[in-house]
């Protein structure tokens, strides 16, 4: 192996400590003008110099990009990977001790490289961009990975929407990524060494996105509504049986929209509540602690007042919770309001809405929707979590899966949604959604001739599971799954002619089509999922 470094200007090397050159063959120094060698104490010595270190050279051999399954990236297709994929990078080293940390800086190649059979003859990196890794606001903004016993270092990179900005800035349809690898006391290495193996990253092939119900990173689930249009929100929580069962649990809160209250609390509840409660309850009747998933239903209307009247057209905030025996508790809150009538203050403040309505159909209806609503999250295996076979986890932890959902739902979607916001249409849409499936159907029909198309499709639990898991990346996949499930149901019906088959398509998905200029294609955004129960 040979290495030639050509420098057009002056080449200066400065070492803090010593500088040694060793060769098993000749060392040739040749100058067009003078050669000057200066030693402060001793002059030039020839013959029997100090021997070099006995170890063989340690170095980075090469690095390569791998796909999510650990196989080398398929470089025959362009681009090699897309936004939304997870990729790995593996580095092969020689003689670097185990557990030595290597640092990797991610760079985007914009340079020019000329190669001939003998190797690279010209390689300019002056236009390359450093890609600081997302979330690393301070520090080295680099990845660190340790060498394993076999001399490899491996780590993963999530190609999130963060990388889109680099594709947008680039002239082409994809960017090419490589690493500069360093380890203490050695030269850096550009990896992969062959620049034709740099990772080409293009825009996402996902054209189906799910709009978060709340629109910020605190709540990652889509908007679920009952068939009548009530909003349903989920959160994790832990309460003691005694506390839950009591209607006195209703808090008196300052006026704010129910939605605001819910969205601000979701993440805190998920992350902190179980842990705090568990600590609080340690040694104080831990067996009374119940794991719960709360189904918050924002109902319209029916607010009891202190003069016995029932006011309508306000939103109630109803929380249905389930303990591990399958028992269900519902607590109704509302944005309190009041007015003065004939000199008397009429208010909903201090009125237990649960007590007020528990004799009415409103209450039982809420409970019904609450229990069915929980099926939406079946893919998280929450049934097991809630029932827990009557056992509590040894280490209290946040609700499994919800955090995961938050991650997958929001990161890929939110920037795209912002660009598509059409205030006038959305305002009408919100009113339509409040009317439930009926309103959604009317809205779709009204917009039938517009450029922005809305659509509805009825899906089953298994399709919803796939959708929420992030396994469905295009609307056509939903269509195909639906057709296939229909076919299977037809076969099942023919095989068991007398058996009544339950209609599994209990979720109605409202979505919109939209041109996305970034990828020059149409994308589909799931607006709302109605529970057809």
């Amino acid at each position: 192996m040979s290495r030639t470094r050509i420098v057009r200007g002056t080449y200066t090397k400065i070492s803090q400590e010593g500088h040694s050159m060793y060769s098993n063959a000749n060392i040739i120094t040749n100058a067009g003008a003078a050669i000057t060698e200066t030693g402060v104490n001793n002059g030039v010595t020839y013959g029997d110099p100090k021997k070099p270190a006995a170890i063989e050279g340690d170095y980075i051999i090469d690095g390569e990009w791998l796909d999510k399954d650990g196989n080398p990236i398929d470089t025959s297709k362009t681009p090699h990977a897309r936004i939304g994929n997870t990729v790995f990078f593996r580095v092969k080293t020689r003689n670097i001790p185990e557990n030595t940390p290597l640092s990797f800086e991610l760079w985007e190649s914009d340079g020019i490289s000329l190669k001939i059979g003998l190797g690279t003859i010209f390689d300019s990196r002056m236009f390359d961009d450093f890609v600081p890794l997302e979330g690393k606001e301070s520090g080295s903004k680099a990845v660190t990975a340790n060498i394993d016993k076999d001399g490899y270092a491996i780590f993963s990179i999530d190609l999130t929407e963060y990388f889109e900005q680099y594709i947008e800035e680039d002239a082409g349809a994809y960017i090419e990524l490589y690493f500069i690898a360093r380890y203490i006391g050695h030269d850096m290495a550009y990896l992969p060494r062959d620049n034709s193996k740099y990772l080409q990253v293009g825009y996402s092939d996902r054209t189906l996105f799910i709009q978060s119900a709340v629109g910020d990173e605190k709540y990652g689930l889509p908007e679920f509504r009952s068939a009548d249009g009530d909003i349903i929100i989920f959160s994790g929580g832990v309460e003691s049986i005694d506390k839950l069962a009591s209607a006195d649990n209703i808090k008196k809160e300052e006026d704010s929209t129910a939605f605001d209250r819910v969205k601000d609390k979701i993440k805190d509840e998920i992350e902190g509540k179980i842990k705090d409660k568990a600590e609080e309850m340690t040694g104080k009747g831990f067996d009374k602690l119940q794991k719960t998933i709360a189904v918050h239903q924002l109902k319209k209307g029916k607010l009891g007042m202190n003069n016995g009247q029932v006011r309508t057209n306000r939103r109630l905030y109803t929380t249905t919770q389930f303990d591990n025996l399958g028992e269900e508790y519902t607590v109704t809150r509302a944005s309190n309001f009041g007015y003065v009538s004939n000199g008397e203050r009429v208010t909903s403040k201090g009125i237990s809405q649960l007590d007020f309505f528990k004799e009415t159909n409103v209450y039982s209806k809420v409970a019904k929707v609450g229990k069915n609503a929980l099926d939406c999250l079946a893919f998280l295996d929450l049934a097991k979590y809630i029932s827990g076979n009557g056992e509590l986890p040894s280490i209290p932890s946040p609700v499994p899966g919800l955090d995961f959902v938050i991650d997958i739902m929001v990161t890929e979607t939110k920037e795209r949604i912002k660009e598509m916001w059409d205030e006038a249409v959305e305002a009408v849409l919100e009113k339509a959604k409040d009317l439930g499936i009926r309103g959604a159907k009317e809205f779709v029909t009204l917009n039938a001739n517009a450029n922005k198309q809305y659509g509805l499709i009825e899906i089953s639990q298994s399709i919803l599971d796939k959708l929420l898991k992030g396994d469905i990346r295009r609307l056509e996949q939903i269509d195909k799954l639906k057709i296939s499930e229909n076919r299977e149901l037809g076969n099942k019906s023919r095989e068991n002619p007398t058996e009544t088959i339950k209609n599994p398509f209990v979720y109605t998905v409202l979505y919109k089509w939209q041109e996305d200029s970034t990828i020059n294609d149409q994308v589909v955004v799931v607006e709302t999922i109605f529970l057809n129960v």
Binding site: K441, N451, L456, I457, E515
Partner: protein, 190 residues
């Protein structure tokens, strides 16, 4: 004055050209020769007093415009209530029956395509089924295959008039990428 005159002609011509585009796409119902009327029980409601009747309708879309048709949305309604694709109805390419038409539809310029619409939730009372098909056995689960769709509609005017009271309609929107080329709204005359 002459300038205004020529300008008016120019504007008129431009207008004609613009309007001409969408009117160069045609949608018409055609006599279907391949599909048969079928009656079967609703697999989710087997004990109901009614069955499902599927009377296929064929439409021909002719693209004489200067743009390719790349996408579509096909909406149907019954008594003013929107029906849902893949639940209440299915649309196929006549020449490729395995292919459902949902959002994608490729009709290049000067080409045409024939679509078949199947309804999957249109009800017919068992009483009417007995009139149509004397061999009908109560609670039979077999699909009853009747005559060709166009023949059936001509031969059973009384029943068709009954369906016509339902006020069924179809909306076909045709797109070039995200641009709406034209929209057709047709009442279905069974």
């Amino acid at each position: 004055m002459k300038t205004i005159y020529y300008l008016s002609i120019l504007i008129f011509l431009i207008c004609c050209k613009t309007n001409g585009n969408s009117s160069d796409i045609m949608l018409k119902e055609t006599d279907n020769k391949t599909e048969y009327v079928k009656i079967y029980s609703d697999i989710f409601k087997k004990n109901e007093d009614s069955l499902i009747i599927d009377i296929p309708i064929e439409y021909e879309i002719l693209n004489n415009s200067d743009k390719d048709i790349t996408g579509c949305s096909i909406l149907m309604s019954e008594n003013g209530k929107m029906l849902i694709n893949l639940t209440d109805y299915y649309v196929y390419d006549l020449n490729n029956k395995g292919s459902h038409i949902i959002h994608k539809l490729d009709i290049p310029q000067k080409a045409k395509k024939n679509l078949i619409v199947h309804r999957s939730t249109m009800k017919i009372s068992k009483k009417d089924v007995r009139k149509l098909f004397t061999g009908y056995k109560e609670n039979s689960i077999d699909t009853i295959k009747l005559s060709q769709s166009s023949v059936f509609r001509k031969e059973n005017r009384e029943l068709m008039n009954l369906f016509n009271k339902n006020n069924d309609s179809i909306v076909v929107n045709l797109f070039n990428k995200n641009q709406l080329l034209t929209s057709f709204r047709k009442k279905i005359a069974w």
